[in-house]
């Protein structure tokens, strides 16, 4: 039986990093957008663009 477990471990870690990084990116982008929405909602606030 070939000893190639390192390839499986690297594949699982890589998949976890890609999926995890995307989840984090969604959370971070959503918070940034919410901050901009909150700034726009303040009375007298100038529009962002």
């Amino acid at each position: 039986m070939p000893d190639n477990a390192i390839f499986a471990y690297v594949a699982y870690v890589a998949a976890a990093v890609v999926y995890g990084a995307y989840v984090v990116s969604l959370v971070v982008r959503r918070r940034r957008v919410q901050e901009r929405l909150d700034r726009q909602a303040r009375p007298g606030a100038a529009p962002q663009r």
């Binding site: 190639n4 390839f7 594949a11 699982y12 998949a15 890609v18 989840v23 982008r29 957008v33």
Partner: protein, 245 residues
């Protein structure tokens, strides 16, 4: 049809996304630590449990949604369909990135090479480029109607590669293994491996729809502030200097 977004709800704790992540982690742990090592391929065979479900969901589910939502957008002109297509494309690219990383990690120990330019692998790389291009296109076109129309056409055309990718192992000589699940007749897997594979399909499908929902909500919020796209990129037109008067 102008489907203006309602005021987006504030981001809160996403139970569906959390449950999906827990399910994926549980399947990963089961696959790595509790599944038997295949006699001929060794432990590298376990890459199958992430590579195949990610490819299945990325190609058939994600890019299928892009094509259907895009085609419906061209017919109905409903902005919600454009948001669904854009969200599915972004999540699909993430899934196909995992496919393109894990495939060579399986190929090196089993085939003896990281990559070969056969039809299945090359077409998979092409469809990844097409949908990365789709995302770049969305960031480059500022007018929402034009952006939605162009990207709907590209999404429909890009998804036409999916049946060719599925049939490529039958149509061309290839190193890539023949299907062992999506084929006529019984799946050729032992029952415990098949059960783990199906768990991985369920967990990664849950994660896909959780990510799709989160990305769609982000798109609604971005539309509410009138931003071009959900990336943080500054539109090129805003970087142009003001003309000197």
């Amino acid at each position: 049809m102008d489907a203006s977004p309602r005021a987006p709800s504030r981001p809160g704790f996403d139970w569906f996304l959390t449950a999906s992540v827990v399910a994926v982690v549980a399947v990963f742990v089961r696959a790595i630590f509790f599944m038997p090592v295949e006699a001929r391929q060794g432990a590298a065979q376990k890459i199958f449990y992430i590579h195949v479900p990610s490819a299945f969901i990325g190609l058939y589910v994600a890019f299928g949604i892009v094509a259907i939502a895009g085609a419906l957008y061209l017919w109905l002109r409903d902005d919600r369909l454009d948001r669904i297509a854009a969200s599915a494309a972004e999540v699909g690219v993430i899934y196909m990135t995992v496919v393109l990383i894990t495939g060579p990690l399986w190929g090196k120990p089993v085939w003896g090479t990281w990559w070969t330019w056969d039809a299945r692998l090359t077409l998979t790389l092409f469809i990844w480029f097409v949908f990365v291009g789709y995302l770049i296109l969305r960031g480059a076109v500022e007018d929402p109607g034009t952006r939605a129309r162009y990207s709907a056409v590209l999404g429909v055309l890009g998804a036409l590669l999916v049946p060719f990718i599925h049939l490529s192992v039958y149509l061309f000589r290839t190193l890539h293994p023949m299907p062992i699940i999506l084929k006529p007749g019984q799946p050729s897997l032992p029952s415990n491996m098949l059960a783990t594979f199906l768990m991985a399909v369920v967990a990664l499908t849950m994660l896909f729809f959780a990510l799709l929902r989160a990305r769609y909500r982000l798109a609604v919020a971005m539309d509410a502030i009138g931003d071009n796209d959900a990336s943080d990129a500054t539109p090129v037109s805003t970087l142009r200097p003001e003309p000197v008067r």
